[in-house]
Symmetry: C2
Subunit: 171 residues, 2 copies
């Protein structure tokens, strides 16, 4: 496999991954394309490379900027906007994790917590209500700890203090 093929393959793989995890395919592909490119690319170059429309490119580029995964870049004397991707894998992971958490996990947990405030007045319900509360509490707890763990992992690579911990986990 040569470099060009490998890059194409990467774009495809990354796109598929995105789709599987609820990020749209094109957004992931644009991201992959920018990841594999040495220089920043313009909207037109991206459109050509992935054969997508201007509108589509624009939408997804904006979303990526929004997420903080890519940045706009301007060249002196040119109006066209170029885009460049953050290429450090850990930084990427951190961004993606924290964005998804902010957008999806936090609201979920808040929503579940609201459920815990049910009035279990009726005596008949008592036992059933207890079971339900226990279920929801369990899920909230797992959610919280999962998030904490995520934070930990994302710190490990940076921090030499946490690094030794990794040994404990390596299979």
């Amino acid at each position: 496999m040569n470099l060009e093929q490998a890059k194409r393959h990467f774009v495809e793989t990354w796109g598929r991954l995105g789709a599987e995890w609820g990020i749209n395919r094109t957004m992931a592909q644009i991201h992959a394309l920018l990841l594999t490119s040495n220089e920043p690319l313009s909207t037109d170059q991206i459109m050509a490379e992935l054969t997508i429309s201007r509108g589509n490119a624009n939408m997804n580029l904006r979303a990526l900027v929004d997420w903080g995964l890519i940045v706009r870049e301007n060249r002196p004397g040119e109006r066209k906007e170029y885009f460049r991707a953050e290429k450090n894998a850990w930084e990427m992971a951190r961004i993606i994790a924290s964005q998804r958490r902010k957008r999806e996990l936090d609201p979920l947990i808040r929503s579940l917590e609201a459920l815990l405030e049910l009035e279990d007045n009726k005596k008949a319900d008592k036992q059933e209500a207890a079971a339900f509360t226990q279920l929801v509490e369990g899920i909230v707890r797992v959610g919280r700890q999962g998030m904490s763990a995520l934070d930990l992992v994302l710190k490990i690579d940076q921090s030499s203090f946490f690094k030794p911990l990794l040994r404990l986990v390596k299979r």
Copy 2:
């Protein structure tokens, strides 16, 4: 909010979450319904509760059994099959995490690793190829460590040895 409302709300929330993370809505809703139910439910009860068709119910119930999130149950003298959900939140998380990892993360990483075997013969490509390799290696490394970390987290609640670690991360 009374218990019934809370349960309905839970089913809806869980469904939404599923959709956001690439699991189909109905499957998540059926799961939620079984989670909130004290007794096992039959296909017909599930159909009625969620107003979905038999085919849909059947398909998604099978998928849930396949994942190991629910189990079939038979009552003596009855042909109807009943379903019961695993209700321990940690166990659920463990199952979901390991299934998704097996189905999606593992193949991804294998696919990316294949990319690392590119023939960087052309001298012109040398530097570019190195950059690309570095990118992919980084991603693979993050993927691996992420998975290890997941394993760790899922052990924490069970193991009193790991428990103190969590304090280090709490916001």
